[in-house]
Symmetry: C2
Subunit: 258 residues, 2 copies
DNA sequence: TTGCTCCTCACGTCACGTGAGGTGGC
DNA sequence: TTGCTCCTCACGTCACGTGAGGTGGC
């Protein structure tokens, strides 16, 4: 009894791919056809379709064809598989962080262009280079003092919360850098708007727990940076601290910053 | 008086690129050298460095070299520029969403592999295909009833909150689909754990405002899908509703779901 | 004169898309 | 016999990296 046979077109349709892609997978040995007809056409069987579905699935998880072929479909043991998954997740988080930085920076650019100013490319570029592009999730603990870490850990459980916090932190810092190099005073309304967002960011993280805010407001995420970039980060941090202090006083926030 | 001249190596170092990249930009006309020495070597002037910094900056914002050359550096007017920025931000959000889906799905895979099960590739793949891959930010309003929209809008101001909500929704839905096709009852502890996360997700969004939870819990994000995929989404939604109802009863949550 | 920098081909990367020109299979 | 599917080259995509073999410039 014969098994059901598929042409490459049928296989492609079933998996949502192009015929060309299926041919490509045959060529690189990722999904060899089960044989050829007398006329030289590829045919596939049921097992091939199952393998193809696994290929497509792993592709959607951002694995390369080489990884799929040589590692994922080679019956790895559980430990190896989990290892690959973890590595892949870290890579994905890093890409997400970069994209978020781009997103925020474009937002800043938009606001600059809207008010008819020339964007300070050099400053913005320095800032982007100064950002710790490595993932904050692995590094975050190293950026905090032990005291801060203890105070914060209950709020850093939820990965989305950390991300949200870090994204806001990045966005506010970029804008602060621009204001600073524009010679805008920390007392200016523009800086005070930033200061409000700064406080909101912390309120949001702690759910309004005031006890932690003083502790937290000393948080700076400058890590191992080039000296030149470090200087710029420091200057930005100081600027934000100043603006935040002024905001806290004016709005009688029940806390103070050194 | 001569201007300061840079060799391609100096320019590359100043911008953090390779010499090869600078040569490439010359070749494609993105950054033509200001001239050649008698020996045939490229040289650049101060203006070239400024242009290069703009190029590098836009590259970090995920624009292509072609876009940078033909659109961004061609002195576009404000409207055109803002248009490009907006488009780019949308593209970035879409990429982020895809990456988040991959991240969550790998998490689900890890948990399946950890308990020694065979991953249900076919099911997972169908689920991924059923997800509205287009950006939810443009589409979100269409997925809600007018009533839901009114109730939710105060909570959808913060883009990070929407993202966080959507990511959790995706993750829980994937896991629910797996449980469902594994024949696990909604009363099972595994499903009840999911139900807890489901409620937590809503509590988190509304900040604990109970009035909205009933309204919200009817939320389903199935949009324009293929019929086959729609069926699977519906089944998953019903499964989650069941598990959530049971959870609400058992834990005496002050609300009920139809 | 000795290193070091920079030069120009030209192929490789990654996952196919896109013709061109030909033919199998119902 | 007529369409439609599938076949094999082979080049194109994107932003360079990486040699190979040669030479400018201090």
């Amino acid at each position: 009894m014969d098994e059901k046979r598929y042409t490459s077109g049928e296989l492609a349709a079933a998996a949502g791919l192009s015929v060309r892609a299926v041919q490509h997978y045959d060529n690189i040995g990722l999904l060899p056809s089960s044989g050829r007809t007398e006329g030289g056409r590829r045919y596939y069987i049921q097992d091939d379709l199952i393998r193809l579905e696994q290929i497509v699935f792993y592709k959607m998880l951002n694995f390369s064809l080489a990884q799929i072929k040589d590692q994922l479909l080679m019956q790895p043991n559980t430990v190896e598989l989990l290892e690959m998954f973890k590595t892949q997740q870290l890579l994905i988080l890093q890409k997400i962080e970069q994209l978020h930085t781009s997103f925020a920076t474009i937002g800043v650019m938009s606001r600059i262009v809207e008010i008819g100013k020339e964007p300070p490319f050099h400053i913005l570029l320095s800032f982007l280079n100064a950002l710790p592009m490595n993932d904050i999730f692995a590094k975050a603990p190293n950026m905090l003092t032990a005291e801060q870490h203890e105070a914060l850990s209950p709020y850093f459980q939820d990965i989305d919360k950390i991300q949200s916090f870090y994204h806001k932190w990045k966005e506010i810092s970029i804008e602060a850098t621009v204001l600073l190099y524009d010679g805008i005073s920390p007392e200016d309304q523009l800086a005070q708007n930033l200061a409000k967002r700064w406080w909101d960011m912390f309120f949001d993280l702690t759910g309004g727990n005031l006890d932690l805010l003083e502790q937290l407001s000393t948080l700076t995420l400058s890590s191992q940076l080039l000296d030149k970039n470090k200087e710029m980060m420091e200057a930005t941090n100081i600027y934000i601290q100043k603006a935040s202090s002024i905001y806290a006083e004016n709005n009688k926030l029940p806390l103070k910053i050194k």
